[in-house]
């Protein structure tokens, strides 16, 4: 059965959210405004804002070194979690995972 593209994307998102250890998934648009999330509002806004800024900085760093290059993925490993950000000009895809579980 063929799925519409949107349904396919929804499916994949659901699968990611269902993986063991994934705390939350956030999709952020180009200005840093979250458009899709599985976390509560305050946490989402916090993550979105902070990670947006960090991504801008990281992208600026990468492009300063070579303007033809661009940032694609950003990963922050902390003691408790791992935050993975897949970056693009139009959006940010953020997944927070606790790999220990």
């Amino acid at each position: 059965s063929t799925l519409t593209p949107f349904a396919e994307v929804e499916d994949t998102l659901k699968r990611i959210q269902g993986i063991n250890g994934v705390i939350g998934t956030i999709v952020v648009n180009a200005e840093g405004i979250p458009i899709k999330t599985t976390l509560d509002n305050s946490t989402t806004v916090q993550y979105a804002g902070l990670l947006h800024q960090l991504t801008m900085k990281a992208r600026s760093t990468v492009r300063d070194i070579d303007p033809q290059n661009d940032l694609t993925f950003l990963r922050i490993r902390s003691k408790k979690h791992e935050i993975m950000v897949s970056t693009d000009k139009e959006y940010l895809l953020i997944v927070i995972q606790n790999p220990a579980e």
Binding site: S1, T2, P5, F6, E8, V9, E10, T12, L13, R15, I16, I19, N20, G21, V22, V27, N29, A30, E31, G32, I33, I35, K36, G49, H52, Q53, M56, S60, R63, D64, I65, P67, Q68, F73, R75, K79, K80, E82, M84, S86, D88, E90, Y91, L93, V95, Q97, P99, A100
Partner: protein
């Protein structure tokens, strides 16, 4: 001491200044008024001298006073009022009102630029200065005049200004007009020279070095001076006298000026911003000035500065290489973007979620997240050192299982790594598995029931090692999948054999559900399930044809066919598996009726692609040649049940294995018509066998209920590793990994489990000799004992 301090006295110059063009005369009259009282320190000597001289002139010459008047375009008298009235008793300040010119009043007007002019008077010469002051009239009180006159006596007296003023003016007018005409025609050469050095401050040194030539003179003078000072006291030459200084009333003066607006400007010039703007040069010209109102942008620096730079941005030249214009270009672009967005809130979400890039990113993210979880397993699979997560706290349960395993660390065992499973595959029977020839991480698994009953639509899943929880590709098939193989030439082509005899070729690069081609249109298609498929590469062509890769299939209708993908799939029979003559009741069955025995498996020789073995349902194994499709080269009869798998050893060219539902596995040598070795353990049907690609003496077998790994160096009577599966679940397929030491087992519940072979002494070489040794010893032992192998 500046003269101006003396001149605190109002030099009441009734000078009205304005900078407006006097339209009538056509001469730009800059009538400046002078103020000397604002700031005594401002005016320099020249200023005072000039003004004073004028004053003096006026007073001496007694010129008829004509006041400076200012008229605007409409002829109104808009002469500004003085702000300062030197003598409140005498003067009548009428600030802010227009008063007629003939009113005498002491007006000293302030004109702030005039002050500035005054200070630099020194450098300006003649005519300018004169025109500058225009017609100056002075009328003064007697008092002030006197005082001024007194004071100005010592001053420089400039030549008679007033009388010549009008002349000067006229002259100036003429000169100016002339100049204007000439200028049009002439080519003017401009010479740029360095101006004279303007000394702003010159404090000569008051000390002299002892070594210099003047030192003597200076010393003498110093001595003379000290002498003088000594002598001063009581000397007639020096008289002490006191002077009175006048302390005038200070007055605060206010000045009004335009407020200086301070604006913060910031420019972001990063390498990439310049690069971006350079690339988007075309966009810059299209940008409109968009004011950033109510930007909820969280792009802090660029938006704020873009707001300020935009008005200037358009004024600047379109030289894109200057940073400021590029910044305004890019930030204007950004602004345009940010202003448009509030309108498109809703479609924004949709657009993002539907974009291809997002899909790809999601897939990558899924793999990344899973990699975090599966990292130790994958590392073990790839034979990489397993690094423990420093933050990971091992729980109690895991420690126990770990120690249990470590106890048996010496004996070989199968370590469970992970299992490929998902809800789609639940309950399905794994019928075949194969690795992709190009990408060693890609695994194709076919799901289909092998029994005649409970047939249901089949499924082919392409799993990637990077995502064990969901297959990368899913293809639904109409009937159960019974055989799979990836092509070696076109690594994206996967051939699928189905229970209803159809062969389909899928392109795994796309997610399309329809195969590239299938054989349902072919007239010669198989009537029975396709039990095995293989892409075979014939290097040595016969008479130019048959070069390249071909798809060969064996089916339950007793045919081994070669399929050619031309316009459709066409097949040519390579061999018909005729069943040999059956002897019933010692009578030969009617030889004219030839029945075909269903073929279940085949395998091409790894070295010589002409020879292949075929196993049938009757238990016979036939050795056939590719080019000769009439008869078999040889027949090996030992099995009493259907032969499910026959496979050549990848290392020993003469050796092959066969397994059957009669609970046995036989090891053959192709020149012997009887098997060399037989392996039995329990009375269970053997579904699948496979040689290990690493070690010649190792092979795996899958029986009903357990997985066995045999190592012939260790023992040929018992399997080295036996791994029992959960009750009710039968392993049905076995696959070794070509690069690492893992084995995959597919079972009847739809799971494909990955095991790592632990403690199986691999050795450095492929142990070919070991295998041959084993065979030799077995044969010799048989020989010496004089036994003949009975049929199993």
């Amino acid at each position: 001491m500046s003269n101006t301090t003396v001149k605190q006295k109002r030099t009441a110059l009734k000078v009205k200044s304005s900078k407006t063009l006097n339209v009538s005369s056509g001469v730009f009259r800059v009538n400046q008024s002078i103020t000397k009282t604002i700031n005594p320190s401002i005016s320099g000597k020249s200023f005072s001298s000039a003004s004073d001289s004028k004053v003096l002139d006026k007073s001496l010459a007694q010129t008829p006073k004509h006041t400076v008047q200012v008229f605007d375009e409409h002829g109104q008298d808009v002469t500004p009022h003085p702000l300062y009235n030197p003598d409140p008793g005498v003067l009548q300040p009428k600030q802010g009102k227009i008063f007629p010119a003939h009113d005498t009043s002491w007006t000293t007007m302030t004109d702030f630029p005039s002050v500035a002019f005054q200070t630099t008077n020194a450098s300006f010469t003649g005519p300018f200065t004169k025109s500058f002051f225009g017609s100056v009239s002075a009328s003064r009180t007697s008092q002030t005049t006197e005082s001024v006159t007194d004071e100005t006596k010592e001053l420089l007296v400039k030549p008679d200004l007033s009388s010549s003023l009008s002349d000067v003016q006229a002259r100036r007018e003429e000169v100016k007009e002339q100049v204007r005409e000439d200028i049009m025609d002439r080519v003017v050469d401009s010479y740029l020279t360095e101006t004279e050095t303007i000394w702003l401050l010159d404090i000569p040194a008051v000390s002299v070095s002892e070594d210099s030539g003047d030192a003597e003179a200076v010393k003498e003078r110093n001595n003379a001076y000290t002498e003088l000072c000594k002598n001063r006291h009581g000397n007639d030459k020096y008289v002490e006298r006191s002077m009175q200084t006048f302390n005038d009333a200070p007055k605060t003066k206010e000045v009004q000026s335009d407020s200086i607006t301070m604006v913060d400007k910031a420019v972001m010039s990063t390498t990439w911003d310049m690069y971006d703007s350079f690339c988007n040069k075309a966009d810059v010209s299209e940008n409109t000035v968009v004011s950033a109102e109510g930007n909820k942008a969280t792009v802090p620096d660029s938006s704020s500065m873009s707001h300020l730079l935009n008005p200037s941005g358009l004024d600047q030249s379109m030289s894109v290489f200057s940073t400021t214009s590029t910044v305004s270009g890019s930030s204007a672009h950004l602004e345009k973007m940010t202003c448009v967005l509030p309108v498109e809130e809703e479609p924004d979400l949709e657009l993002i979620l539907q974009s291809d890039k997002f899909k790809k990113d999601l897939a990558v993210m899924e793999r990344v997240v899973l990699a975090n979880i599966f990292q130790p397993k994958l590392a073990a699979y790839r034979q990489l050192p397993v690094i423990e997560d420093p933050d990971y706290v091992q729980t109690q349960i895991e420690e126990e299982s770990w120690t249990e395993q470590s106890k048996n660390s010496l004996s070989p065992f199968l370590e469970h790594l992970w299992a490929f499973k998902c809800e789609l595959t639940k309950g399905r029977n794994v019928s075949s598995m194969t690795w992709n020839k190009k990408n060693p991480d890609l695994l194709a698994v076919g799901y289909g029931q092998l029994d005649f009953k409970d047939q249901k639509p089949g499924l082919v899943c392409c799993w990637s090692l990077k995502n064990p929880t969901w297959p990368d590709r899913i293809f639904h098939c109409e009937s159960g999948v019974t055989a799979l193989d990836f092509s070696a030439c076109n690594a994206n082509q996967l051939s699928v054999g189905l229970y209803d005899g159809t062969i389909a070729i899928y392109n795994v690069q796309t997610t399309e559900q329809t195969p590239i081609i299938d054989s349902s249109d072919c007239a010669n298609m198989h009537a029975c399930p396709v039990w095995q498929l293989r892409w075979v590469d014939h290097d040595t062509g016969l008479a130019g044809e048959d070069k390249g890769e071909m798809l060969i299939s064996v089916s339950g209708d007793g045919r081994i066919s070669k399929w050619i993908h031309y316009k459709g799939l066409e097949c040519v029979d390579l061999m018909k598996l005729k069943s040999p003559n059956m002897i019933v009741n010692n009578q030969r069955w009617n030889p004219k009726i030839l029945s075909l025995a269903p073929g279940l498996c085949f395998d091409f020789h790894p070295n010589d692609s002409k020879i292949y073995l075929a196993g049938t349902e009757e238990g016979h194994i036939h050795k056939c040649s590719y080019s000769y499709n009439e008869q078999f080269l040889e027949t090996y009869k030992a099995h009493t049940g259907p032969v499910y798998k026959v496979t050549w050893s990848p290392f020993c060219p003469d050796v092959f294995l066969s397994c059957s539902s009669d609970w046995t596995i036989y090891l053959w040598r192709q020149d012997l018509s009887k098997p060399v070795l037989g392996f039995t353990s329990g009375q269970k049907v053997v579904f699948d066998i496979m040689w290990s690609p690493h070690c010649a003496t190792v092979f795996g077998a899958v029986r009903e209920g357990k997985v066995e790994i045999w190592d012939l160096r260790v023992s040929s009577l018992d399997p080295t590793i036996v791994s029992a599966s959960s009750p009710g679940v039968n392993p049905t397929a076995l696959l070794f990994t070509p690069e690492t030491d893992c084995v995959l087992v597919g079972d009847s519940e739809g799971q494909v489990t990955v095991y790592k072979l632990k403690n199986l002494s691999a050795g450095d070489s492929t142990q070919v000799e070991a295998l041959e040794d084993v065979i030799r010893t077995t044969l010799s032992s048989q020989h010496t004992l004089g036994k003949t192998d009975r049929d199993a």
